[in-house]
C-alpha cells in the first residue's frame, strides 16, 4: 500500500517555485529518506503532506487521504518539524500531557514515563521549555511525535542538537519502529545518517525528485546529481 503519494505537486511562494512537479511514492513499512541541499524543497514537501500549507497545484495523499483532509491525517501522523519547539512557558511534563489530551491518549502516564526515561530527560520534567537546552527541547519534540504510536512519522532533521548516546538509542528505535510496519519519511542533508537508517532515498533538486536509490548508495548518487556543486 502506498502510504505517501504526491502527483505533480507544485508550490510557489511568490515568484519562487519551492516544489516543481514533485512525484513521490512511499510504500507502507518503508524508511524513506528525502535528501537534498538547503532549499531543495524537503521541508515544503512535509509541510504540504502534514496539511500545514496548501499546494499551488497537484495532489498529495497520506494513508490514502487527500491532504485537504489534514485533521484525519494528523490523527495518525507524528511530526517533528525542523524549526519548531513546544510553547515556552509549559514544562515538558505539562506539554506531553497536553499532547496526550489533544490526541486523546488513554494510558498516557506509562507512555510519558517511557519517553522521559528512554530519551533520558526525566530530570527536566518540571523545567520550563524556555529554560531547556536545544537538545532537550528536541527530545521533547521526538517524544510528542511518537507518544501516540502513529502509523506515519515525518522527521525533519530530527537529530539536530541530540547527544550521540541518545542518537544511537533513537536510531535503533526508529529502525525497529519501521520493521513493525510503520512508515517514516526522513528529511535530511546528512548523507551518512540517511545511509545508516533509511531503506530507500529520493534525491531532491529544484523542487522535484531527480533520483531514487537504495540508501546504501545514497552518497554516490547524491554527488553524481550535484557533481557541479562546489566545482568553482
Amino acid at each position: 500500500m502506498e502510504v505517501i503519494k504526491t502527483l505533480n505537486l507544485v508550490k510557489k511562494f511568490g515568484n519562487v517555485k519551492a516544489l516543481n512537479g514533485l512525484n513521490l511514492s512511499v510504500e507502507e513499512g518503508t524508511f524513506y529518506g528525502l535528501l537534498g541541499p538547503n532549499g531543495s524543497g524537503k521541508t515544503t514537501t512535509v509541510r504540504i503532506l502534514s496539511g500545514q500549507i496548501k499546494p499551488t497545484s497537484g495532489k498529495a495523499f497520506v494513508l490514502g487521504i487527500e491532504v485537504s483532509n489534514y485533521i484525519k491525517i494528523r490523527e495518525n501522523l507524528g511530526f517533528v518539524p525542523e524549526e519548531e519547539y513546544p510553547p515556552s512557558f509549559l514544562t515538558p511534563e505539562e506539554y506531553l500531557k497536553f499532547v496526550c489530551k489533544v490526541r486523546k491518549i488513554e494510558n498516557w502516564k506509562e507512555k510519558m514515563d517511557f519517553w522521559f526515561d528512554f530519551l533520558d530527560f526525566s530530570g527536566y520534567r518540571n523545567v520550563l521549555v524556555k529554560d531547556l537546552s536545544r537538545g532537550t527541547k528536541q527530545k521533547l519534540m521526538l517524544a510528542q511525535a511518537f507518544i501516540h504510536e502513529p502509523k506515519v512519522v515525518f522527521l525533519d532533521e530530527p537529530f539536530i542538537n541530540i547527544d550521540p548516546i541518545i542518537q544511537r538509542r533513537f536510531k535503533k528505535f526508529i529502525r525497529d519502529y519501521v520493521k513493525k510496519g510503520n512508515t517514516i519519511l526522513f528529511c535530511t542533508h546528512i548523507l551518512s545518517l540517511a545511509r545508516e537508517v533509511c531503506d530507500k532515498v529520493g534525491i531532491m533538486k529544484n523542487g522535484k525528485i531527480v533520483k531514487e536509490t537504495k540508501a546504501k548508495d545514497c552518497e554516490k548518487a547524491f554527488f553524481k546529481v550535484f557533481k557541479d556543486v562546489g566545482a568553482h
Binding site: K72, R74, S88, L90, R103, D131
Partner: protein
C-alpha cells in the same frame, strides 16, 4: 553604530512588509495624515485639540518604548526561527548599551517618519515648532518607557517608579509642552538611566515548576484553555492584562470629559464607560493571540477554528469577571450597562476573529484597519446616538454571531 541603526531600520521595514502588503504599509503615513486632518475638522477648540495631540504623541512614545524591550518575548514566540539584530547581542562584538541606543534611535527615526510627521502636519500644517515639541515629548515618553521596562525586567523599584512617573507626568505635562528644550534634556537623562539599567541576561530564578496542567484540565476540560492559563500566569500575561485594562480606562475617563466639554456626547457617563470597558476587555483576547503561535498546534489534529474557539473561551473566562466587577462598581450599575459591556466586547472580538485570524500584527495592515474602522464605526455611533440601546445591542449581537460563524470557517 550608524550602520547598526540603518540595519535595524531595514529590519523594521522588512518585518512590517513581511506581515502585510508593502503598499499598505507605505501608505500608513498618508492614512495618519488624513485621520489627523479629520480630527482637526471635528474638534474645533484649539486648546483641546492641542492637548489631545500631545497626549496621543505621549502615549505612542510610551507604547513604542515599552514594546522595544518587552518585545523580546513576543518576537521569540512569534518568530522563533528568526534572529533579530537586537537579540543577537551575544554574537556581535558590540556593547549592550550601543545595541540598546541603536534600538532607541531606530524607534525614534521610524516613528518620526511613519507617525509624528504626518500626525503633526495633518493637524497643524507645516508647523516646525509643534513638530519639535512633539519630537521632544515622544523622546521623553519613549525613554521613560525604556527605563520602566528595564526596571520591570529587573523586578526592582518598578511600582515606585511607575507611581513617581505617573504623578510627575500629571503635574508637569503642560510644562513639557511649553518647554521643549527642558523636555529634551529630561529625555536624554532618562535615556542615560535606561542604558545604565538595561539587563540582557534573561534567565529564570525558579528552575522547577509545579504541574498546573493536571488541576486545570480537571476543572476546565479543555487542554487548550488549560495551556493558555498556565502560559498567562508564568509569562506575567496577567499583569499585562491588568495594565492594559487600567491604563486605557484612565484615558477613557479623560476622553469622556473632553467629549462632554465639547458637547459631542449626550449619553450618560455609565453607558459611555460600559461601552469603553467592553472595548478595553478585548485586550485580553488580543494578548492571548499575541502570545501564541499557530505553528505550535499545526502538528496536531486541530483546526485553526479549534484554537480560536479556545482563545475565545479563555478570554471570556478572564474578561467577563473583570468587566462585571468594573461595571458593578459604577455609580448606577444596571443590566443594560452589563449588556453594553458584554456585547461591545463580543462584537469587537468577532471582528478580530473575522479579520485577523490568530495574527494580531495583521491589524496594522492599512486595508484591515479600514475594514475594521468601517465595521466598528456603526456600532460605536449607534450606541452613542441611537436612542434605543437594547435594539442596537440585539442587532449587533446577531451580527457578532454571524461574524464569528464566518470568521471561524474562514481560516480552516
Amino acid at each position: 553604530m550608524w550602520e547598526l541603526i540603518k540595519l535595524m531600520l531595514k529590519e523594521e521595514v522588512r518585518i512590517h512588509t513581511h506581515l502585510f502588503p508593502p503598499l499598505f504599509f507605505f501608505l500608513l503615513p498618508l492614512m495618519i495624515f488624513i485621520f489627523s486632518f479629520f480630527l482637526k475638522l471635528m474638534i474645533l477648540n484649539v486648546q483641546i485639540l492641542t492637548t489631545i495631540f500631545f497626549l496621543v504623541v505621549f502615549f505612542s512614545g510610551l507604547s513604542s518604548g515599552g514594546y522595544g524591550v518587552q518585545a523580546r518575548e513576543i518576537y521569540l514566540r512569534k518568530f522563533p526561527h528568526l534572529n533579530f539584530l537586537l537579540y543577537s547581542y551575544l554574537a556581535m562584538p558590540i556593547e549592550n548599551e550601543k545595541i540598546l541606543f541603536s534600538l532607541f534611535s531606530k524607534e525614534v527615526i521610524f516613528h518620526f517618519f511613519w507617525f509624528l510627521l504626518p500626525f503633526t502636519f495633518g493637524i497643524f500644517g507645516f508647523n516646525i515648532l509643534t513638530l519639535i515639541k512633539a519630537v521632544a515629548i515622544f523622546l521623553f515618553s519613549n525613554s521613560l518607557s525604556f527605563l520602566l521596562s528595564n526596571l520591570y525586567n529587573r523586578r526592582i523599584l518598578f511600582l515606585i517608579s511607575l507611581l513617581i512617573s505617573a504623578v510627575s507626568i500629571f503635574l508637569f505635562f503642560n510644562f513639557m509642552i511649553a518647554y521643549p528644550l527642558l523636555t529634551l534634556i529630561s529625555a536624554f537623562a532618562l535615556l542615560y538611566a535606561s542604558l545604565k539599567t538595561v539587563n540582557f541576561e534573561y534567565y529564570s530564578k525558579k528552575i522547577h515548576h509545579r504541574n498546573y496542567f493536571d488541576a486545570l484540565i480537571k476543572y476546565f476540560k479543555s487542554p487548550l484553555v488549560s495551556k493558555d492559563l498556565i502560559d498567562l500566569k508564568r509569562s506575567y500575561g496577567i499583569f499585562r492584562i491588568a495594565f492594559s485594562f487600567i491604563l486605557p480606562f484612565i484615558v477613557t475617563v479623560f476622553i469622556f470629559q473632553i467629549f462632554k466639554f465639547i458637547g459631542i456626547i449626550s449619553i450618560s457617563k455609565d453607558v459611555f464607560y460600559s461601552l469603553m470597558l467592553g472595548l478595553i476587555s478585548v485586550s485580553v483576547y488580543a494578548t492571548l493571540i499575541e502570545f501564541d503561535r499557530w505553528e505550535y498546534y499545526a502538528i496536531f489534529p486541530l483546526k485553526k477554528s479549534d484554537v480560536i474557539k479556545s482563545k475565545l473561551k479563555t478570554s471570556f473566562l478572564i474578561s467577563l469577571p473583570l468587566l462585571l466587577i468594573s461595571i458593578s462598581l459604577m455609580a448606577k450599575p444596571s443590566i443594560e450597562n452589563f449588556f453594553i459591556g458584554i456585547i461591545s466586547m463580543l462584537y469587537i472580538i468577532s471582528l478580530l476573529v473575522y479579520l485577523i485570524d490568530l495574527e494580531v500584527g495583521l491589524l496594522f495592515d492599512t486595508r484591515r484597519i479600514i475594514v475594521f474602522s468601517l465595521l466598528f464605526a456603526p456600532y460605536f455611533l449607534s450606541i452613542l446616538l441611537f436612542p434605543n440601546i437594547l435594539i442596537t445591542l440585539l442587532i449587533f449581537f446577531l451580527i457578532s454571531l454571524l461574524l464569528l460563524k464566518f470568521g471561524l470557517r474562514r481560516f480552516d
